[in-house]
């Protein structure tokens, strides 16, 4: 029985759940498989060959996300993503989507705290069509008031669906809003409802002009392609785009935290839930020792990957207090991220008791060394996942786009497995001691019972 599967059968797929946890496992590539180039206008291009099927996926990643927004204007990046489907002068509303559909393609887009990305996956002989439309909307988008007024209602419905009617969504939003005082990770990707109510098409238009430019974008194409021909095609459609002066990003450094933060949410008739986060570094953090990030990744694996992981074994199986427990950490965040742990209690179990058990698990990691068998498990999973990931061209493109956009460089992949394998039990204990501490902790409970 699997909650994830079950939900997907009866509802529809919401979000991309595997992405964060799988940042643990990257697929290395040989130099021959990947080609990279930066055009004079600053557009970065990454091509990767995968000739298993006559199919290609074409992505464009913009380095703009909710992390770049300011108070009172939250949700702009995501709202712009929606408006990007409203058409240009040359290809008015719906023409792009209709064309991709007619060619048998799939398309979608997504926004995170760190980036906004658009993609089409289609038979490889039609790649040029995708590039033609995608490049056109980089700078020719028409943002009309009437389209905006309808679309903002769609976005509010999306917010109601994913956050306002979902206790876990509210808890997640509150976790970030409480953990961060100044960092822009404080604000939700979709924006506060209050900001959606006051947003205008002019805000969107300015946001678009500021950030959508070749020198703030990466094109990633993975599939059955010929490097030379594809590079030519990309140049044909993007080569003449003008570089735009990208505004300096507002740096909102997070001040020190003075103690544990706690939020207790009451929502009548809903099951209890616990989500917590510790502020930790990413590869982008100032003065970070990268090996800390790798050790934190392994630590997350020790906690939650597989049936024998600590959270599973202790909270679900031995103590029988949780029906699900998970952790997540992304070392590739643009800003300092949270090391997340979330738990669905067995209905009727006291949240207090679960928190005490969780505390014991964390304290044990700080005191005792993890077992060699636990490290071996993570290493085996990294190795296997490297291979399994090659089964999806879209996933390969996502990894490349995310790395380039978030940390500026994809070469991290080459040393990735080695770096994970280098992590020792001592290092895991060290990062637990250093980062999983009272002063960086925020915990949110829904309907806590004592």
């Amino acid at each position: 029985m699997n909650r994830f599967l079950k939900k997907n059968i009866t509802n529809f797929l919401v979000g991309v759940n595997v992405f964060v946890l799988l940042t643990l496992f990257l697929t290395p590539y040989s130099r021959a498989e990947v080609m990279e180039k930066t055009l004079d206008n600053g557009l970065h291009i990454i091509l990767k060959k995968d000739t298993r099927a006559p199919v290609v996926t074409s992505h464009i990643w913009y380095k703009i996300g909710s992390a770049d927004e300011i108070s009172g204007k939250t949700g702009l990046s995501h709202a712009l993503e929606h408006m990007m489907f409203k058409g240009t002068k040359k290809y008015p509303g719906g023409v792009f989507s209709q064309a991709i559909s007619k060619l048998g393609g799939k398309e979608n887009a997504f926004t995170s705290k760190d980036y906004t990305a658009y993609y089409q996956t289609l038979p490889s002989q039609y790649l040029e069509e995708a590039l033609k439309f995608e490049s056109d909307r980089m700078n020719n988008l028409v943002i009309s008031k009437s389209d905006f007024l309808k679309e903002i209602e769609v976005i509010k419905e999306e917010r109601r669906l994913r956050t306002d009617d979902q206790p876990e969504g509210i808890a997640y939003e509150q976790l970030y809003a409480s953990a961060y005082n100044n960092s822009s990770y404080h604000d939700p990707i979709i924006g506060w409802m209050e900001d959606l109510n006051s947003m205008t098409e002019v805000d969107i238009s300015n946001w678009y002009k500021n950030w959508y430019a070749p020198n703030n974008a990466t094109v990633v194409i993975v599939g059955d392609i010929n490097f030379e021909k594809t590079m030519k095609l990309v140049k044909k459609y993007y080569g003449s785009k003008k570089k735009v002066k990208i505004e300096d990003r507002i740096i909102r450094d997070e001040p020190p935290q003075f103690g544990k933060k706690e939020v207790s949410i009451q929502i009548q008739g809903k099951p209890s839930y616990i989500i917590m986060g510790y502020k930790v570094p990413s590869l982008n953090s100032k003065d970070v020792d990268p090996s800390d990030c790798y050790a934190l990744s392994v630590l997350s694996g020790i906690l939650s990957s597989g049936q024998n992981s600590r959270l599973q074994k202790i909270l679900v199986r031995e103590k029988k207090v949780a029906s699900y427990a998970d952790s997540g950490y992304s070392m590739f965040s643009r800003n300092d991220p949270l090391f997340l742990i979330d738990i669905n209690p067995i209905v009727g179990e006291k949240t207090d008791k679960i928190r005490r058990e969780l505390e014991k698990i964390i304290e044990d990691l700080k005191k005792n060394l993890v077992k060699q068998s636990e490290l071996d498990r993570i290493k085996a999973q990294v190795l296997a996942t490297e291979v399994y990931q090659r089964d999806s061209i879209d996933y390969q493109a996502r990894i490349l786009g995310m790395l380039k956009t978030s940390i500026g460089d994809i070469s991290v992949i080459e040393e990735y497995t080695k770096n994970i394998n280098k992590v020792t039990a001592k290092q895991v204990r060290e990062v637990a001691k250093k980062y999983l501490v009272f002063k960086s902790k925020t915990i949110v409970t829904v309907n806590d019972e004592k």
């Binding site: 029985m1 909650r3 997907n8 009866t10 509802n11 529809f12 919401v14 979000g15 991309v16 759940n17 595997v18 992405f19 964060v20 298993r52 099927a53 199919v55 995501h78 489907f85 989507s97 559909s101 007619k102 060619l103 048998g104 393609g105 799939k106 979608n108 887009a109 997504f110 926004t111 996956t121 289609l122 038979p123 209602e153 769609v154 419905e157 109601r160 669906l161 994913r162 009617d165 997640y172 990707i189 009548q268 809903k270 597989g306 049936q307 024998n308 679900v316 029988k320 029906s323 998970d326 979330d342 669905n344 209905v347 068998s373 085996a380 291979v387 399994y388 090659r390 089964d391 999806s392």
Partner: protein, 444 residues
């Protein structure tokens, strides 16, 4: 046991891709068939580029075989890797995990499956496969594991009762299927799961998880010879019961127009409109598939999405699907919208459906849909996991190979008249069940 994370990325839309068309193959997906010594059908496709193997064993053991113990199939499957007569749960997990293999099970209304994904290198594959075979022949269902899994399942069921979309989905299927075995959610009900005993589980396993009831699909870089050897091993592990599976009785489903409102305190109303429609193998399957593609099954291009989301901003997601099963499967339309827009949306959808049934698609729409389906064909089979799922379905539903090869030409032959006839016959607007779950503002 990964839980759905709803938060990380915000997508422009979620497309509902329910693959109701299973009859797909392609000239360059080579499919070999084989029958094991004890009669299990095997379909195999060789995929050279990745050193991995996917095995999926499909059983005629979905939740329609639960009987009075609703939730039995899913509970049994979830316990398969929780103990054998010689190994405990932890050891089993550790064997798979330390070799980088993934063991999985799934259950839907008709079918269930047990699958393994592994690297093909012998040092990983051999121990993983050995463990997999042991589960097939010798799951032991220890009492403590049964109790734990029941507890977790019941907890999840109770949690779901506070989720409006779960409530709506469960109520809707209950309403359209009455006392038919497709009526209940595969996970079961809290009180039915509570009553399931270890003996129920063991009986279900012995009767259903065996050679008489199985077919095998494999996609791998291994040679045909190696794959056949694996299939024979699986087959032997499953050869443990001489019992014949008793085919269940088909119950008649009454089709009556009905409107149901269920009060629930949420900002959005969750709405389902639909009825029980066709079974797999129906001559109307393809015309309905193409018609539904145009009406609500193709994301942004579909009429529903255009009218309700793009033109009116009423919702983030609206869709329809036809889902033929071994017996008659559902046709349904789903949408969620702010409570005070619920009735307006229902009315609009009902009018649109009536209009579609009356007038059919336009010539342009039909042409577009056929192009889209035919051109998009390679995307459906561009990964090992896609191919594996098709092999499994082809096996289970006994689809004719010749018919498969001609899939794209079958699609191209479908006319407006075919679609109109199929909709008229299979989707009677006077038998639609409309369900609204939402707060008082969503009520009529």
């Amino acid at each position: 046991m990964m839980k759905s994370r709803i938060f990380y990325l915000y997508k422009i839309t979620f497309f509902i891709i329910i693959m109701s068309i299973t009859n797909i193959t392609k000239a360059d997906v080579n499919i070999s068939s084989y029958e094991t010594k004890n009669g299990i059908k095997v379909l195999f496709s060789k995929s050279d580029n990745i050193p991995m193997i996917d095995i999926k064993i499909t059983f005629d053991a979905g939740s329609n075989r639960d009987g009075d113990t609703k939730g039995l199939s899913m509970l049994t499957h979830s316990l398969l890797d929780e103990g054998t007569s010689v190994r405990k749960s932890e050891e089993i997990a550790s064997i798979f995990e330390s070799n980088g293999s993934i063991f999985n099970t799934s259950v839907n209304k008709d079918r269930s499956s047990i699958s393994l994904r592994s690297l093909t290198q012998a040092k990983y594959l051999n121990p993983s496969l050995k463990m997999f075979l042991e589960i097939l022949s010798d799951s032991s269902f220890p009492n403590n594991e049964v109790n734990l899994q029941k507890k977790r399942t019941i907890s999840t069921i109770i949690e779901d009762q506070s989720d409006p979309s779960e409530i709506a989905s469960n109520l809707f299927f209950k309403e359209i299927y009455g006392d038919h075995p497709y009526s209940h959610p595969s996970i079961g009900y809290a009180d039915s799961v509570k009553k399931i005993s270890r003996k129920n589980i063991k009986d279900f396993y012995d009767k259903n998880i065996n050679a008489k009831n199985a077919s095998i699909a494999i996609v791998s870089s291994l040679s045909k010879k190696e794959v056949i050897a694996i299939a024979e091993k699986i087959s032997k592990s499953l050869d443990k019961s001489k019992k014949k599976v008793i085919t269940k009785q088909t119950k008649t489903i009454s089709k009556k127009e009905k409107y149901i409102f269920k009060n629930f305190n949420s900002e959005q109303a969750h709405i389902y409109i639909g009825l029980v429609s066709i079974r797999r193998g129906s001559e109307n399957h393809l015309p309905l598939y193409v018609g539904n593609y145009i009406f609500g099954g193709s994301g942004f291009s579909a009429r529903l999405m255009q009218e309700l989301r793009v033109k009116r901003g009423l919702t983030y997601g609206v869709y329809s699907y036809v889902y033929p099963l071994r017996e008659e499967g559902p046709f349904l339309i789903g949408i969620e919208t702010k409570a005070d827009q619920a009735q307006k949306s229902v009315k609009l959808i009902q009018e649109m459906l009536a209009e579609f049934i009356k007038k059919g698609p336009t010539d342009d729409e039909l042409k577009h849909a056929k192009n889209s389906i035919i051109n998009g064909f390679p995307l459906r089979i561009d990964s090992n996991s896609d191919i594996l799922n098709y092999l499994s379905m082809i096996n289970y539903y006994d689809l004719s190979k010749d018919y498969l090869k001609t899939f794209t030409s079958e699609i191209s032959k479908i006319t407006k008249k075919d679609i109109m006839n199929a909709f008229k016959k299979e989707i009677n607007v006077n038998s639609l069940v409309t369900l609204v779950v939402g707060n008082a503002k969503a009520k009529k």
